[in-house]
Structure formats: structure tokens, C-alpha cells
Amino acid sequence: MNETITEPPRGSDKNNRATHDLQNAPTEPTSRMDTHEAAQADVPRSIIEMKNLSSWYGSFQALNSISLNVRKNKITAFIGPSGCGKSTLLRWVNRMNDTIPTARATGSLHLGDLDLLGSGTDVVDLRRRVGIVFQKPNPFPKSIFDNVAFGPRLHMKLRRSELVDLVEWSLRKAAVWDEVKDRLNAPALGLSGGQQQRLCIARTIAVGPQVLLMDEPCSALDPGSTLAIEELMNELRDQYTIVIVTHNMQQASRCSDETAFFFEGSLIEMNDTKSIFTNPNSQKTEDYISGRFG
């Protein structure tokens, strides 16, 4: 496992303080962290590798022998018509499919060296390392602070001051701090949809994941909020591997590095986003991205 992601602050640790300070001045390019990440980006390695992954819900086959690699610290977009299996694929990566009794999968799916389909996988720890953001913002009916502190409270033993720091760090990172800093104890359900979704992202990164899965994160948001989320993904791309499922092809072309096109449970094509949108190899891909169907 290549532990190069930026850890959230842990109070007393000086290095992590630096990260925290970085967040106070996010545009500063000469930071130690940025150069380090830039060097990483030159040699992108796969973090999620799947081979011949097939999946069923009962007798219905949702995924048909998918083989693809998701590169580290890149934004990978999954596109395709509804019901093509992209959400199913996403939900296998952090085993959210475990909640569906009839769901099963064959093939291989690895996060680094961790076998995700193995029966002995520590799902709780996996979900800490692979965070997920859902289509509809789903903040808990608690205060804004408690929402962000929910994950850390599950996984870490932190002093109150450390927790406060971590919550601020996460909210800053999710670009929602300025809007909520004066009302951290207000109910999260009182925020607007876009703010709620950014709060959910803050909540997810507060536990220090390596991978962020986003299942149509903007489909319930207005264009302004969508823009905010896209800018946020752009900010986060240096430290997290992001996989985004989207129906919005402009969004995929705007903000992703790589794009995979799925159709009826199969991976049709995966390539650089630029190549997919300018020169797709498959006729189906071309039809889809040009809006002929879907």
C-alpha cells in the first residue's frame, strides 16, 4: 500500500499541522505537500484493479466480466445509461453491496494488495479507506459538527480539541467552512442541497480515505452547487483518488482524467477523457456521448 495520501491532522503531530496550515492558504503552490504530490502524479499507479469482475443480483447479471484499473490520484469518471452497472461497480469497491442479500460477485477486485471480494476482508476498515458520497445528500439529522465528527468518533480516539481541529480541517477541505463556521451546532438538515453535499464530502474525508467514490454527486444539485462540487474535486485530486459516476457528460469531460463507458453491464471503452470525447474507439461510445441514445 502506498501511503502517500495526506492524513488529516491528529492534533499534536507537527507534520499534520503543516497540512492544516496548508488548508488555511490553499493556493500556496510552494508547499512541501504539493511538490510531493506533483512528483507522484508523474508516475500514476493503479490503486483499484479489477479483473473479470462479474456481479449478480439474484439471477440478474448486473456486471459482465469487467476488467479495468483506476489510477492513483486521478479522477476517473464512469459514464453510461441508467442500469448499465456503473453504480453496482462502485458499490463493490467499498462493499456497500453487502447490504443487499442477493448481491454476489466473481472475479478479482483489489485495492492495492487488499482483496476486496475476500470473505475475510475487514469491511469496516475498508469503508474507512474508501469513502463514498451518494447521489442525494444524506446528512444525518444531527448538528453540522456532529455530522463531520461522526466518522472520526467511530474510528479514532481523539481529544475534544483534536476533534474540533479535524472537523475544521475537513470542512475547509470540502470548501464549506466559510459558510458554516458560525453555526456548527445548527442542524445539518437546515443547509442547502449543495452545502449538504459538500458537508457529506467533508464527513467522508474526515476519516482519512484513500479513495473517494462519488455516485452521481451532482445530479440532485443546481448548476451553482454542481460547479462548487466540481471545483472541490479539482482541489482534492492531488490527495485522493476519485471515482465519479455521472450522467452529465459535460461534467465527465470537464473534470475527469480518465473515462470509462459502460453499457448493459459491460465495459465498452476506457481511455483518457480527451480521447473518449474526441475520438472514441467504439460506435456505441460515440452514439452515447453524442446524445444519440441514453
Binding site: 456497500m96 447490504t99 476498515d125 451518494f134 444524506n138 442542524p187 452514439d287 444519440r292 441514445f293
Partner: protein
């Protein structure tokens, strides 16, 4: 036509709906055909005029108002007649008095406290059990086939049990809790039941100060009673001996006293008033008394408070389980997914997310169930059956009566005056019910405000 066609690769490329033979006679395709054949707009026929629909709407509205007002009117009538005959007979005696044969002195204090005891015990037992069962069924649905079958069997049973008449539960409670299938009928040598906690047995001895044989005339050698704990004696049948420590029941509690035992036919051991006051007859036979803590328990439960609480538990458990299940189902699955996605274990999801969101709903169901328990008469009539209780229950196994039972007893008397105080009792019962509900509604309201 930008409609999604899952198998429409070829169709999208070449053919248009007009020249393609459409085999599927679905309504959309029919409309497409009609639209294709002529350039005219589709004209809907056989329209139901909006006047008819509006008339139906108004009709339905009126019917709703009618049914609602009929039920409210019946309630208002019942409440009005009870209040009219009950309020004049409300008095301090009715609230704090004891059941007496004369209606003007009769009160329902023991029944009031009995209701509080039984219902609070019932709530303490039923709420954790019922909510726990609902969580198990709703949140921890097993993956194993056999366990799933079992869970659905339990579910079926719970739904059926909610409709069983409460008198049936009374009979079940009588067998299961009062007599416990006669499994524990043997009692030990000490005269105390073999299985019990929370009770201390004493033998009570009196001194011989009042005995003319020992009477010294000294005021301090008055008659005293000593309590000797049964547990402290190796053999409960031995007579007390000199030097044995006993306790005297004084206002400050039990005070240890060393007693002196004599042979009544021997010479007087002392004339000191202090020693005389501690002197008892070696051959005297004590009376056995017991001191019971509030949590006193023995098996079988007998006709005590705990049996009543458990029987009422049977009555309201299905209601609480079903309403809790409904409340849990109403919690959006996205919340559970969100917590799971953050790495919460299923238990953490239930405790931190699902349960707090479901609390208002659970409270509503519990309020209704507890109101039913407070008003329940039939099962208590079977398992307690006693109305002339002269004291409030002191411990879990004590005899008790409840307010509905007391009211039922009064209404079945021939004297008119008893009917009036029964109405007064109903008013008190209603007041207690409303207070309970108001408190619960208030808590629910605060919880809801905190969530949103």
C-alpha cells in the same frame, strides 16, 4: 424522439417509427401510430367532465368530515357525561383514601399506586424488549435461510398476537407468571420459599418485662421486641441463648441489642432494669416476620405486582414491536448507507443513526401502548382479582389493585353513591393518562426539534 431505447441500436441508426413494423401494441406505440398516420393532433375522447370529478371530490370531502365529526361527537359525549357525573364527586378523600364499605369514605390511593407500580414496571420491562425485538427484525435481518424463515415466523406471530383479546393474556399470565406451571411450589424448612431475593426473615422475641414473675416496676424495663435474623442462626429451630445478638426495631432503624436468655424456673438473674429489659424466656416461641426490599422477588411470582406487569407486557409487546418496526422503516435508507459508508458497524449504525431518528415514532407507539396498559382491566382481574387492598404495594411481589379494577368494582355495587365515586375515579384515571401522554408528547416534540 429522444426516448431511451435499451435495444435500439439499429433502430436509432436507420429506421423511424413510421416505416417500421411495430409489433408491440403498447399504448405509446398506438399513439405514435396515430400520430404518424395523420398530421392532426391527438384528440382525447370520452372525457369525464371536470364538473363530475369535482362533485366526486366534494362528496368525498363531506364524507370525511362526517365520519370524523361522528367519532369526535361520540368522544365528546362520553367525556361530557363522565365529567358531569364525576367532577362533583371528586374529593381529596377519593384520591388519598382507602377502599371502604361506606362510599363517602372510600378512596383509591392503593389502586392509584398499584397502577403506577404495575405500569412503570411494565414499561421498564416492555420497552427494551419490544424495541430490541423490532431492531433485530428490521435492522439485523439474517442472511441464513433458516434464520430468515424463523424471523418471518416471529413476524407473523407478532402480527397475530396484536389482535388477541387481553383476557386470553390474563389466563396465560395466570399460568406462566402467577403459578409458573407449579414448578416452584415446594418451600424450604425455614418456612421461606427456596428461591427468593430481597427479603430478610427475622424471629421476633419479646422480653419478659411485662411478666409479673419478672416485673420490677421499673419503667425502663418496659416490654421490648427483639428481631433475630433467621440467616444468622445455624439451626432456625434453636431457642435463643445468652449473648445472642438481636436487633430492636427503633425509629432510627434496626439497633443491635445483646439479649439475655433465662430459664424461667431458675432464680432471677438480675434485678437491673437494663438486664431485665433484655431478658427473654429460653423456651419462648418466636413469631416469624420478614422485611422485604422493594426488589423482593421469589418464584413463583404469585399474585404480585411483577406478575401483573409481565402480563400487561404480553398485552402491549406486539403493539410496541410493530410500531417500532414502522418507525425504523420510516428512517431513510440513505442515512444507513451514509453511516455504513463511513465505516460504521451495523450496531453503530443502529445506535447512532437509525434509533435517534426513529425515537419520535417509537415514542408515539409506546405512548399508545402504555395508555392501553393503564386502562387494561380484564387480565388484571384474572391475575390479581383483589380489590380491598388496604395499603399501597411495598415491593414487587406485593398484592395490588389497579384503578380500572377499582372502578369496575365500584360500578358493580348496588348503591348509587358508589357509581358516582366510580365516575370520579374515571376522571382521575383520565387525568393520569393525559398527564402521561402529555409528558411523552413533550419529550417527542423536543427530540424532533433537536433532529431538524
Amino acid at each position: 424522439m429522444s426516448e431511451f431505447n435499451p435495444k435500439g441500436d439499429e433502430q436509432v441508426k436507420g429506421q423511424t417509427p413510421e416505416n417500421s413494423p411495430v409489433a408491440d401494441p403498447s399504448p405509446t406505440n398506438k399513439m405514435q401510430l396515430a400520430a404518424g398516420k395523420s398530421t392532426e393532433q391527438f384528440r382525447p375522447t370520452h372525457l369525464i367532465t371536470s364538473r363530475v370529478r369535482l362533485a366526486k371530490d366534494i362528496c368525498f370531502q363531506r364524507m370525511c368530515i362526517l365520519t370524523a365529526s361522528v367519532s369526535v361527537l361520540i368522544l365528546v359525549f362520553l367525556l361530557g357525561s363522565i365529567l358531569a357525573s364525576g367532577i362533583p364527586s371528586l374529593s381529596w378523600t377519593l384520591l388519598t383514601g382507602f377502599p371502604e364499605p361506606e362510599p363517602e369514605n372510600a378512596g383509591m390511593w392503593p389502586a392509584l399506586l398499584g397502577t403506577l407500580w404495575v405500569c412503570s414496571m411494565c414499561a421498564l420491562i416492555t420497552l427494551p424488549l419490544g424495541i430490541g425485538t423490532a431492531i433485530l427484525i428490521e435492522e439485523f435481518t439474517p442472511r441464513n435461510r433458516l434464520a430468515q424463515k424463523l424471523a418471518s415466523l416471529i413476524q407473523l406471530n407478532i402480527s397475530n398476537l396484536a389482535g388477541v383479546p387481553s383476557v386470553v393474556y390474563g389466563i396465560l399470565g395466570l399460568t406462566a407468571f402467577v403459578s409458573m406451571f407449579s414448578l416452584f411450589d415446594d418451600t424450604g424448612d425455614s418456612g421461606a420459599p427456596s428461591l427468593e431475593i430481597g427479603a430478610v426473615y427475622y424471629d421476633q422475641f419479646s422480653n419478659l418485662a411485662s411478666d409479673p414473675f419478672l416485673a420490677s416496676g421499673d419503667e425502663s424495663a418496659r416490654e421490648r421486641y427483639f428481631l433475630v435474623p433467621v440467616d444468622l442462626r445455624d439451626d432456625p429451630t434453636t431457642v435463643p441463648t445468652t449473648g445472642m445478638v438481636a436487633y430492636e426495631n427503633q425509629e432510627a432503624g434496626l439497633v443491635p441489642v445483646e439479649i439475655i436468655a433465662i430459664d424461667p424456673f431458675a432464680e432471677d438473674p438480675s434485678t437491673s432494669p437494663d438486664q431485665l429489659s433484655r431478658t427473654i424466656d429460653e423456651t419462648s416461641t418466636p413469631g416469624r416476620i420478614s422485611e422485604k426490599q422493594w426488589y423482593y422477588l421469589r418464584l413463583p411470582f404469585g399474585r404480585g405486582v411483577i406478575a401483573g406487569a409481565l402480563t400487561l407486557m404480553l398485552v402491549i409487546l406486539p403493539v410496541i414491536i410493530i410500531s417500532t418496526q414502522e418507525a425504523l422503516r420510516a428512517v431513510p435508507t440513505t442515512l444507513r448507507a451514509g453511516a455504513l459508508g463511513l465505516g460504521a458497524t451495523p450496531w453503530q449504525v443502529v445506535w447512532n443513526v437509525t434509533l435517534p431518528s426513529a425515537v419520535p415514532g417509537i415514542m408515539t407507539g409506546s405512548i399508545l401502548a402504555m395508555s392501553r396498559a393503564i386502562g387494561e382491566t380484564a387480565p388484571i382481574l384474572i391475575i390479581a382479582g383483589i380489590v380491598y387492598i388496604r395499603s399501597a404495594p411495598q415491593h414487587l411481589m406485593d398484592d395490588y389493585t389497579v384503578m380500572p379494577l377499582q372502578i369496575y368494582n365500584w360500578t358493580s355495587r348496588p348503591q348509587e353513591e358508589f357509581h358516582h365515586i366510580a365516575a370520579g375515579g374515571i376522571v382521575i384515571l383520565l387525568a393520569i393518562l393525559l398527564t402521561f401522554n402529555a409528558v411523552a408528547v413533550l419529550i417527542r416534540h423536543r427530540m424532533q426539534n433537536k433532529l431538524h
